[in-house]
Amino acid sequence: MKGKTLRIAVVGSGPAGMYAIEHLLKEPLNIEIDLYERLPTPWGLVRYGVAPDHPEKKLIIDRAFNYYLAHPKVRFIGNLEIGKDIDHTQLSEWYSAVIYAVGATEDKSINIPGESLPGSWAAREFVAWYNGHPDFSHLEFDLSCERAVVVGNGNVALDVARILTMSPEQLAKTDISQNALEALKRSKIREVVILGRSNLVKAAFHNPELEELACLDGVDIVLDKEQLPKKNNLNSALDWKTKRKILTLNHLAKDNLKEKNRKIIFRFMSSPIELIGSNKLERLVVAKNQIDFDEEGRSIVRPTEESYQLETGILFRAIGYRGIPLPGLPFNKSKGVIENIKGRVSDQGELFPGTYVTGWIKNGPRGIIGTNKLCARDTVRCLLQDAKDGKLSSNTASHDEVLTEVKKRKATIVEYANWLNVERTEIAAGSKIGRPRLKLTKLDDLLEAAGV
């Protein structure tokens, strides 16, 4: 495609946005991309979600995403929120196409009494805190009790359990926020109970994450082996991934526990039904669940009459993220996504010209980093088809006009060179104390380092 420049805005610089840019740059197009980011820092959940003890996964920044961010056809405009500082209507006037890759920034609630007691947290808040997210770095987690409870058993639940039980020496080798590192050094938590509402077969955590628990120093994995199918009697109907989980848990679960060790305790078929405490969380009531079958033979998990209480001062809800509405765009409340047909934003069948979504705000929160690559490929294909069919406006604002207008609305935007200042500051500060990076965790500090 030759001719007039296709000017595209990508909103959100996490994996979804970066993969959208990857696919756009692959095309032999006359193209200019502006990448908008709410925070002064790029990379979304790779910086603020991926656990600090997973530095390998963050290599994707240096080995892929940074290449796109630094690309001459890409301009980073950080510290500017679309839907607040600039609205969708304005953006769609400036560009031929807008791709929203804003992720899922809220969490599902469990809807039980006492859920809002102090001490009851979303795992999302804890994750953002230990990763130094500027919106969450001020939070204070009371880690003075001996038992923490995590509700849900996906990879986020395992991240939380690992960070709570890992030795401070191990944590200090990572880029965990300094604030979180100090708080975790003082932590009195001795055991983390992970509650899964169904059985192991339905557990959402992945095998690599489960197997990794074997690498925790001074941590015993505890599990009532009665909860597992017998090793030599694995139902052949079980899929391979589930069998691998069962074998791993059999291997991980210790019979002779060491008193001095911290513990991660798996309890399947368990749901919290009430959180109790006078002015903060003191204990929770856990129902034992059973599996029933509905009329069509589908299994449903239901609580039984049987329940027990667990004393705890801190609980993390890790049962999934959900997207939030973006002003001016149609939103599907039940799915927590912006309404779309294969990535084209649409309200009851009526398309929003030149407006697209990709990643978790398109499909809901599922999959891992690379899942977003396929998702972005499909959205970009729609966009390119629309461009070819002449459905995208070519009446756009110029590269320079946009920057002038943006600066009128917000003086403190962070451009690529500003971000590099932050990057250098953090790495230099880290190297002085033998850490890979010392994250700046306050908005003011980030902007000062950025030099804006």
Partner: protein, 92 residues
């Protein structure tokens, strides 16, 4: 000898795109890609060209003889994925 994909894999599938003998699964349009935990290399087909090693954005791919200790068992896991897939006609 073969190459092996280990735990850091984020299912970015750049490896699939460069593999000259299509020995890496699941491919992005396969039905089990959406729920993939990682990608796997079929040791029966791999020709040891190492193209995937450089393509991997998270350096998750090692030659079997060079596997780090904590990921030794991934040689077996990569192989088992395919034995299982061939037996059941799909890994679901």
């Amino acid at each position: 000898m073969t190459y092996v994909i280990t735990a850091p894999c984020v299912a970015d599938y750049s490896c699939v795109e460069v593999c000259p003998v299509d020995c890496i699964s699941p491919e992005p349009d396969d039905s089990d890609f959406q729920d993939a935990e990682q990608m796997y290399i079929n040791p029966e087909i791999c020709i040891d060209c190492a193209a995937c090693v450089d393509a991997c954005p998270v350096l998750a791919i090692y030659e079997d003889v060079d596997l780090p200790k904590r990921w030794q068992h991934y040689a077996r896991i990569n192989r088992n994925y395919f034995t299982n897939k061939n037996r059941t006609g799909g890994v679901e």
